[in-house]
């Protein structure tokens, strides 16, 4: 019974993952216009405040842009066209997510490099392990430390 516990748990996890995957693969309902407007508002910077999006800000300028987004979507423009409309007027600065793919790759590469460095360290068995001894000679300090370690675990 106890032998089966982990396989059962993993099977349950995989089943759940499968359901999630099916949900993701299944074509989602096309976003409503209100959702598109909300999404656009989240991605545009409020021109007269700091670090907030048009969706979050309460300034009049943000409200005007929110209204324009809705009007332009109503007029049949695509979200890409609306985004381009604001970029043509404010510059790339208005986009809270930069267009350069570079900004997405840098963090991913950084983490992969980090994992790589530690994998290398692991395989090498540590960086220049002090002499060949597994640990310094057993002094009183070591004994007390091991004692504390045993109590703690």
């Amino acid at each position: 019974m106890r032998r089966l516990a982990l396989p059962v748990a993993i099977a349950a996890l995989l089943a759940l993952g499968g359901v999630v995957l099916l949900e993701l693969v299944r074509p989602a309902a096309a976003p409503t216009q209100a959702q598109q407007a909300q999404q656009l508002a989240r991605e545009l910077r409020c021109p007269d405040c700091q670090a907030l999006s048009v969706a979050e800000s309460q300034t009049a300028a943000a409200a005007n842009i929110r209204r324009q987004i809705v009007e332009q979507l109503d007029a049949g423009r695509t979200p890409e066209q609306v985004r381009a409309y604001f970029v043509a007027r404010y510059g790339d600065w208005i986009l809270l997510v930069p267009t350069s793919p570079f900004v997405w790759w840098v963090p991913v590469v950084a983490i992969l490099v980090g994992v790589g460095v530690f994998a290398w360290w692991w395989r090498r068995g540590g960086v220049a392990v002090a002499s060949a001894l597994p640990a310094p000679g057993p002094g009183l300090r070591e004994q007390v430390r091991d004692e504390v370690e045993r109590l703690d675990v």
Binding site: A9, V115, G126
Partner: protein, 659 residues
């Protein structure tokens, strides 16, 4: 008179810290106890002097002494006393004065507590702390003198920044944050001293762990209080905007948290020692970067102080600190070799290593996102923005992975785990997590973020619960104690471990609250006429009337408020206002928040029409928000529990020291 004395105190303080730095270095080389004692006294004197300078500034603010430029710019005759006092840290020059007070306070505390201990390390700890404090005194003596006088003396001042006098939280959030920031100089000073004296053994690690956790608690509390301030004051219904200055506070917190974990590996296994040292350096340098970002005008932020000439000073300080610290580290690399090879791949240390890679990854990502506009402008001259959508998308997966490791780490033993152990420790937690996800789905939760976080948090909590139960069970059996007593004894006898668990519980609470509030909230905007009613969720909100009148506490401020009556799970009268401050171009929103265990009702007045008496309101239902603050408090309390002095452990430490 008083401002002149304050300025004099700053100048003498600079001399005292420079003397202390020199005397610590000389004493460190010669071992002369008298010289070292005089250096310590010079640092205590510097603390007393800057305390006096702060006192002089507070007196000037309270007495509205407009001959002082800082007072004329940040105070008015009508400013209430409370906001006059906290104006000490509300603008650039005063905040540096306050910063210096805290930095020299921490330095004096450490030098006093360790006056008779760690004789080899302490001179160099003192020298590092004295140099750091001297830098801030020098900033006040030259580019950012808080006591600059003006003539002719105006009859009225500008008053404090409107955003800062709108909520009493301003009295709490900056001091907590500054205590955290300034305190991170202590582990750095110990790190430098350990490298200089080649005492890079477990002794310094134990001290540095404790002295990282102390400011870490303040930094945690300061960040959470800052989020709360943003939520309660700015009126946008959120609490974290990925504003550059918010990020600046998070960066040293992340590296300090990484250090808290990696130092355990260094202490127990004798590996990751260079890495642990590097984290101490990174944490301190990032606190300086944070100061630089806030005070140099390089990035746009709600928190940015007015642009000033001190940017170059801070940039130079960052470069010197980074250069010297790195050079010391490289010089002592041979001392920091691993004491034994890393353990098996499935082991607690490997979980900790992954934890560190992810913490550093998220630190790097946030630093990169924050500085990306500066980077783009420096290379192409174009302006770019990086905002919440990018930060959320990049950081959310990393934080989720970290939450997962929170459960994995404690379940695995040091050195390596057998297959049987893995099976025993993980089966029940995984099944519980899956069960909770299915149950939440059945109850109608459909968003991926809360479902995933529910599952993960359950996994983590069950792993820890299992640990506690197993430990308490064996203790209860072997000593014949009752179960609650066994749990209590277990926790108080293993403070580090169980304090850590408590902090992890707090993290789980925060994670759930953040995921739920970010996805399951409701938000509506409506323009109502007097007497009109609006329904949102289970609430009905009636807009009674519009009132415009001067604020009782400061008649120069005109408040226009919409008075509301709320019915539903919470009910009663309330008002949300816009306040016109004479020194602010736009009116400042004063949102009203009704907090309950399950959700907050949050109403902001966006605008009003004085003729038609209509009010435009934005109403949010923010679920579980109070659990974000509560989770933060649990995290801080867990860390406090972990470092609370333990009589038995102190005895063991004394035995070690005596050996």
């Amino acid at each position: 008179m008083i401002p002149t004395l304050g300025h004099l105190a700053v100048v003498i303080g600079l001399a005292a810290t420079v003397y202390a730095a020199g005397a610590f270095i000389l004493g460190g080389r010669s071992g002369d106890a008298a010289v070292l004692a005089s250096a310590r006294r010079a640092m205590y004197a510097a603390f007393a002097l800057v305390a006096f300078a702060c006192f002089a500034m507070v007196v000037s603010l309270l007495s509205h002494d407009f001959s002082v430029l800082y007072v004329a710019r940040n105070n008015a005759t009508t400013t209430p006393p409370f906001y006059s006092v906290i104006s000490l840290w509300a603008a650039l020059e005063g905040s540096i004065l306050f910063w210096t007070l805290l930095a020299s306070g921490w330095a004096s505390l450490v030098l006093y507590r360790y006056r008779a201990r760690l004789p080899a390390l302490m001179p160099w700890v003192g020298a590092t702390l004295a140099l750091g404090t001297a830098f801030f005194f020098a900033v006040m003596a030259w580019p950012s003198d808080p006591f600059v006088r003006v003539t002719p003396i105006g009859l009225e001042g500008n008053g404090p920044n409107a955003l800062l006098q709108n909520h009493p939280f301003m009295g709490l959030h900056p001091p907590l944050l500054y205590l955290g920031y300034t305190g991170m100089a202590i582990p750095f000073a110990f790190g430098m001293a350990a490298l200089i004296t080649r005492r890079t053994d477990e002794e310094w690690l134990a001290v540095v762990r404790r002295w990282t956790l102390v400011p870490w608690i303040f930094l945690t509390a300061g960040i959470v209080a800052g989020a709360w301030w943003s939520y309660a004051v700015l009126g946008w219904g959120g609490y974290w905007a990925w504003d550059p200055v918010e990020n600046a506070a998070l960066l040293p917190w992340l590296t300090a948290t990484a250090f808290i974990h990696s130092s355990m590996v260094a202490e127990r296994r004798g590996t990751l020692r260079t890495w642990t040292h590097a984290l101490v350096i990174a944490t301190f340098v990032l606190t300086l970067v944070g100061t630089f970002l806030t005070r140099s005008g390089v990035v746009n932020s709600v928190h940015a102080f007015t642009t000033s000439g001190i940017g170059a000073w801070f940039a130079s300080a960052i470069l010197v600190t980074l250069g010297v610290a790195l050079a010391l580290l490289v010089w002592r690399l041979p001392d920091l070799r691993d004491r034994r090879p890393p353990g098996a791949v499935v082991s607690r240390e490997s979980a900790f290593v992954f934890n560190n890679v992810l913490f550093l990854g998220v630190t790097f990502a946030i630093l990169f996102g924050t500085l990306y506009p500066v980077l783009v402008e420096a290379t192409t001259g174009a302006k770019a923005s990086v905002g919440a959508p990018w930060f959320n998308r990049v950081n959310a997966p990393i934080f989720v992975a970290l939450l997962f490791l929170t459960g994995v780490g404690p379940a695995l033993p040091w050195g390596g785990a057998s297959w049987a152990t893995v099976r025993e420790r993980f089966a029940v937690p995984i099944l519980s997590g899956v069960g909770v996800v299915v149950a939440a789905w059945a109850l109608g939760v459909r968003d991926a973020a809360p479902l995933g976080i529910f599952g993960l948090a359950t996994f983590v909590l069950v792993v820890m619960g299992d640990e506690v139960v197993r430990g308490a069970h064996s203790r209860a059996r072997s000593r014949g104690e009752t179960a609650p007593l066994a749990v209590l004894r277990l926790a108080t006898r293993n403070r580090r471990r169980y304090g850590g668990y408590l902090a992890h519980v707090g993290i789980c609470v925060m994670a759930v609250a953040i995921a739920v509030s970010a996805t399951l909230g409701i938000d509506r905007t409506a323009t109502l006429a007097e007497g009109e009613t609006l329904s949102i969720g289970p609430y009905t909100l009636t807009y009674d009337k519009l009132v415009t009148e001067p604020l009782a506490s400061d008649p120069r401020v005109i408040e226009t408020r919409a008075e509301l009556t709320l019915a539903g799970p919470q009910s009663g009268h309330m008002a949300t206002a816009l306040r016109d401050y004479p020194n602010s171009a736009t009116a400042i929103a004063t949102p009203v928040v009704r907090t309950a265990l399950g959700e907050d009702l949050y109403v902001t007045l966006l605008g009003y029409n004085p003729d038609a008496r209509t009010a435009t309101l934005r109403i949010f239902i923010n679920p579980l928000v109070m659990w974000i603050w509560t989770g933060g408090a649990i995290v801080a309390f867990g860390a406090l529990f972990a470092i609370w002095p333990d009589r038995r452990r102190t005895a063991v430490a004394a035995a070690v020291a005596g050996a």
